[in-house]
Amino acid sequence: MDDYLIGVLSNIGVISFIALSAYVLLLTGEISFGQQAFFAIGAYAAGIATALWGWPLAAAIVWGAAIGAGSAILVGVPTLRLHGLYFAIATLAFAEMVRILFELLRYQVLIDGEWVGPNGADGFRNIRYIFENDISSLQFMILIYAVLVATLSMFLLLERSRLGVIFRMIGEDETLAGLQGISVARHKVLAAGIGGALAGIGGGLYAHLTTYIEPRSFDVMLGVHSLAYGLIGGLGTAFGPLLGVLIDIGLLEAIRALAGYRMIIFGGLVAILLIIRPRGLLDEKLVHKIGRMWRLILPRGGRVKLGPSGEKI
């Protein structure tokens, strides 16, 4: 594989995390314009951990995810009392606050004769872990996809689990979900926490992929993009946001011949797509249909068959 392809695939992998993180909140019916904040927090936390504290990468990523989840929960508790547009704007305000705070953050340590660390608006250079440990870009890409596959399998498990069903219930009708005995507030905060963790993982990987980060990378543009991925790809399954990322980055790369007109064509396509399918390509109905076809081909074992009066047959 050449460097270019590795670069594109790595980018797709990294951005998938933030798309998934916005998707978790979309499941519960909330729009967040602020997932980029947790992406940034994860990136800075993980970058600081490896570059300044000399942690190994895995620990740094876990640390980034934990910080991301923690801050998402901290913000989620007060803001999730708000709904719809109010919540969306509150997350936007928070994310911009975080971005500006990173513009002000200076935390540099003299390592090996050079100052390393976040340097305000100039960003955080020299996150050199992959060079110091001689990890090639191909290896790092494989690492990204390994984490992504692990995350995705957790997600597919989640979608089939009660928790996933609860998220969807809250997304569809909050009041009714409350009347099924579900603590809506608690589950929403949980969703926010999961979203924060995912964004944090993505951020940590991104920081080590590019080796430098800047506060302005994490502005509203990234947040709205990540929100759009779920909606373009579809809200019916976790593959939806991934499809969205693939369409955005992958397709745009593929139609490179049209370079200058890319966003014009793409913007129009998305607008038309959303007219036809307001809940994205892989929406709930389609996913359900596919699921049924799947079951027809491969009957699922283990289900208890019952007679009309309830006895086992």
Partner: protein
């Protein structure tokens, strides 16, 4: 169920990740001076890159140098095909022609492949007729990027 053995396994895993020995290679760090000029074609720029060892200030020659670019304002969304820079006669000087996708601030990735691997990042503002310093956070919000 989250039994104690589960918890133990998770804690052990975390502990392993946190404390397993890691090797930090003592290595050369590169420093780069980048000077780009617009080429005749739209969105193409000729860059002259001077690589030096940041400790000893001696020129770094004999590297394979790949020049890629990324837009900090749109992380991971623009993928510029990295180009290989040609080494010049002058020691430690490399030349590359890069093709960007739009005007604005770009972060150039200079990837050194050779005796050691390293990446030097330079943020520059690419405009139609000139290449200059990137916009700073001090300028008013709507004039940035």
């Amino acid at each position: 169920m989250m039994t104690t053995s589960w918890r133990f396994a998770v804690i052990m895993m975390l502990a392993f990740m946190l404390f397993h020995p890691q090797t930090v290679l003592a290595q050369v760090r590169a420093k780069a001076e980048v000077d780009c000029q617009p080429a005749a074609e739209k969105l193409q720029y000729d860059c002259i890159i001077k690589l030096t060892n940041s400790r000893t200030n001696e020129q770094l020659a004999g590297f394979d140098l790949m020049v890629g670019a990324d837009m900090p304002s749109m992380p991971a969304m623009h993928n510029v095909r990295p180009v290989k820079a040609d080494e010049d006669q002058e020691k430690g000087t490399y030349k590359a022609r890069i093709v960007l996708e739009m005007y604005g601030d770009w972060a150039l990735h200079l990837d050194l492949i050779g005796p050691v691997r390293d990446r030097v990042v330079k943020v520059l503002r690419f405009e139609r007729d000139r290449v200059g310093e990137p916009t700073s956070a001090q300028t008013p919000a709507h004039q940035r990027h």
